[in-house]
Symmetry: C3
Subunit: 183 residues, 3 copies
């Protein structure tokens, strides 16, 4: 079991590293921390307190806090979907939060929520590869690099914002390794 205190410390550290701020409303914030704690105790990872997790890590990965959508939402709306993380103007009270639409792609929502439903038994004759392509839990990961700063990561898709230099997703490209001969 984690504690609200640890959840709060992680969020503080995370906001500082990512270059954003925590919501200045202490009570509001505390409710979100309680939600994160509940999710971490339930699933083993602190999935977003404002979204429905499946309990399957592979399907929830993009909504584990800090979720994949935090950075572009803070850039565009000044706050993440939950308003847990905000930008400087909102932190300092110069601006108010506004509603943030759900950026999570419908395909990922379907994959996550569809995966919990009953699925038909696959035909024996179908090749394994085609089967895998249909299996929502099979996630293909690749190496990506930021063409601006060189940051390397291994994910299904590049991040929306480079965590190092803040370049946009468009500046990421797939990194194909030409390996040295094995010695």
């Amino acid at each position: 079991m984690t504690t609200v205190e640890k959840v709060r410390a992680r969020a503080e550290s995370d906001a500082r590293t990512a270059g954003c701020y925590l919501n200045p409303d202490k009570e509001f914030l505390n409710n979100l921390f309680e939600g994160l704690k509940a999710n971490e105790d339930r699933y083993g990872y602190p999935s977003c307190p404002c979204r429905l997790a499946t309990g399957k890590f592979e399907l929830d990965r993009d909504i584990i806090c800090p979720c994949d959508y935090r950075d572009p939402d803070v850039v565009q709306y000044g706050a993440c979907y939950c308003a847990l993380f905000v930008n400087k103007d909102i932190f300092e009270g110069k601006k108010s939060t506004e509603p943030v639409p759900e950026r999570r792609p419908i395909e990922k929502q379907n994959r996550a929520y569809g995966a919990t439903a009953v699925t038909a038994i696959p035909k024996q004759t179908e090749p394994a590869r085609a089967q895998a392509a249909k299996d929502p839990a099979m996630v293909q990961q690749k190496l990506w690099y930021c063409k601006q700063c060189g940051y390397v990561c291994y994910r299904e898709e590049p991040p929306y914002v480079c965590p190092v230099c803040k370049a946009k997703r468009e500046l990421f490209a797939e990194l194909v390794i030409q390996a040295a001969p094995r010695t």
Copy 2:
């Protein structure tokens, strides 16, 4: 088209992540943001407002803000070349900015500014490899890792300062991948 507001938000987030500060002079800062916005609208990326870009991404990569030279300049002089980013003492008014010499290597300046000039038609007989070596737009990238913290990046040269642990460039080494046999 981007907005000055978005340019400012990115710079704020970026300074916080990198562990430095924005210049405390609001008007000075705003002029730099206007320059960054103009460059982003013109080239598609926010190249340094104090340097001449070519408009060719490969040649301008090292001077896209935050430029490759920001971190060592903030370490050594307390400010980047533009004085957009400063250290804590300058941010708090305890010290003033001083002139920051151009750290960009002359080879990169030549490569960038030479590449915009008319070049002679290559001889047919010259091998492609030798040709590529002379072509200023052909940039060889490698995988590097920080020997202190393990940070991995894919760049022409290692960063001057590790973005994760702040180790100096000398602590980076090339990372040669011994690949697993393809299955």
Copy 3:
């Protein structure tokens, strides 16, 4: 030779990036900076001022400041082993530092301090590989990635805390590269 000023600037930048704070006690802090400066001048890298370094980079790597143990110690105790880096509550004076036990694994301590002692001459007949396994200076490094955010690093073991998304060590997995055929 480095300067205390440079050591301080690096620590400030590093704390900000990592999402923690420097100890608010200026005199205490200054003594630590003097220690870091002495170590950097002596060894070429700023090993922890509160631990005994060997002068061999490979054996000291985990205790170069910021050491491998800083992040989990700040999470658990609110301060690193030295109390150079602290969390927000201690920085703001809301809490006091408490003693932080040594988290460095005994194997690493033995490897480091044993390696400075006289060792027996290896038998000729022993295969090189078995020999290497016993040599404390031979450190096997691997590629790791964070299953939450995709951060990639090349280290002996994964970090205790992901420097990008703050996921715990348990969320790291080894990254095995399936290389493209060499062209």
